[in-house]
Symmetry: C2
Subunit: 371 residues, 2 copies
Amino acid sequence: MLIGVPAETVPGETRVAATPETVKKLTAQGHTVRVQSGAGVAASVTDAAFAAAGAELVDAAGAWGCELVLKVRAPAAGEEALLRPGATLVGMLNPFDAEGLARLAAAGVTAYALEAAPRTTRAQSMDVLSSQANVAGYKAVLIAAERYQRFFPMLMTAAGTVKAARVVVLGVGVAGLQAIATAKRLGAVIEASDVRPSVKEQVESLGAKFIDVPYETDEEREAAEGVGGYARPMPPSWLERQKVEVAKRVAQADVVITTALIPGRAAPVLVTQEMVEAMKPGSVIVDLAAAQGGNCPLTQAGRTVVHQGVTLVGETNLPALVAADASALYARNVLDFLKLIIDKDGALHIDRDDDIVAACLVAHAGQVTRA
Amino acid sequence: MLIGVPAETVPGETRVAATPETVKKLTAQGHTVRVQSGAGVAASVTDAAFAAAGAELVDAAGAWGCELVLKVRAPAAGEEALLRPGATLVGMLNPFDAEGLARLAAAGVTAYALEAAPRTTRAQSMDVLSSQANVAGYKAVLIAAERYQRFFPMLMTAAGTVKAARVVVLGVGVAGLQAIATAKRLGAVIEASDVRPSVKEQVESLGAKFIDVPYETDEEREAAEGVGGYARPMPPSWLERQKVEVAKRVAQADVVITTALIPGRAAPVLVTQEMVEAMKPGSVIVDLAAAQGGNCPLTQAGRTVVHQGVTLVGETNLPALVAADASALYARNVLDFLKLIIDKDGALHIDRDDDIVAACLVAHAGQVTRA
């Protein structure tokens, strides 16, 4: 089968959907992989490295024109015309973008949005949200350390002691956990908060302190348990009390990293303007929810702003800033997913009884198939 | 006594020569500290914080016009006119800048260049080169991690393992040791090289591997021992063999941090163009000698450039990028030095029998006093 890997065209998107490692495996399975020339450059993968792995270097039309096309991001408006009718497209196609899915359906392609995979054990190795959130959590801490004008670790020097940075992580999913782990590596003192009490143990196992906010009603308790690995929106009563607890910690923090996302909805506000204004000058907030409205109303998507001495980083695509490893992990996720849609004879098939396939299939035979 | 703290005016200089901590101590000793309004802002110190510590906020003339003036950097050409004849100036005045010292002498001030302090145990607490090199070493690794498109730590994820970054540190003074410590914190695998065999133990105690380059002649051995804590230039025979050993490691490195400086001389070349071209695309070099010509001929002072896929960072003032803690440490160095030039009655005196005072005194009574 011809498998195409076009270059990404979204501004700032540096990742690539295949790497020499995955090209080699696909080639060994008898497929021909056509990579658009230059597709890997921003991810530290040269054309020569792709060629050495067995890929054919082609132009955009050559990569888009294959039977199976691997992408990081959904095609930009108009790009779907480069796909052959009947082709299969795999990528992070944004299952909440009804218009984008309609365009793919209209183009007559079979499309799989990998973000829609269920968060089950079997799906873990193809969980693009997790692999990329891991990268985002790491990068968020590096950006914070880069912006923060003091040391993260405590240091004892001839000129006296330097205190460790106080880091508060709000939202302890995959990104939050990696942020905690990275800040811990750098020697910070860390407190973390989340609506799911189950993460407390994980937080503590990484050497951070969990900020407890007790539940007072059954409604609060039920909401906190959540569905599909995501927290559901918590009732206002609880959010108010959480604000009070979190506000105390944020006021003393040097660095705050917020990671609270609810799929398909605006991000919850965790750090209010008032809380920012109570922070010390020189403090840094990295808002991983910037692309979805932000966990802080002062965050500006895609920009870094300073508000009363506090720096707010609103990067919307942190994984793209660690392009090589983000691509390496993503490409492995894709490779694993392909096992579900390519049969033993190397041909594409659609197994709707497979819960992962069924969840990811967003367009087929001219129809949007997203529930 | 009136002590003035002007704002720094060198472009990119964010540090300040006093902090609320040191202002409080000087005030408690009975001095009046006049800080130029805004002098601390880039170092996360507000005017309000200085005022709360007991400082008077003044304009530039008010800060420069004091009996004792504390600075980070030497006055820019013309700024020395703001000093009163007979005033005392303390700062990093660049003892190798004959022209600058001549201007200070002509202005009739008593000037102490803190970089000239001997590297003795007693001088450690006022060793500005060490305190700032410590900051530079930390920041160099953060910048490298920021530019590098992969993870520093090894990670085991659901999408497979990510390898740890390979970091090579060339030159193991204070900056190099802190670079090793910081890269180690972030989970990298580190090799280090230096012309002084004595650092091998320190390198290994931080969890890095020392790259051995044996000495073959007495000349090589003597040069390696060095003077005053600095390595002397090594003979060409040894440098050639070191290049061979280092080149092997650099070719496999993901990140190279070079820190080799010789006071008052051009920095030695440790990474040649050929070595850069043998590195993997996506690798990062941070050259801490950028301001003195660089340890790599491709480094451009003050700029970040990419050569055949390798990023070369030529920041010339890394401590200024960690302004708050760099200032905190520097201000403590200054405070400690002041004990040597202020007598029990709170008056300035010049004790030429004190080896630190004698070494730092670069201008007095119209004369350049630098040996």
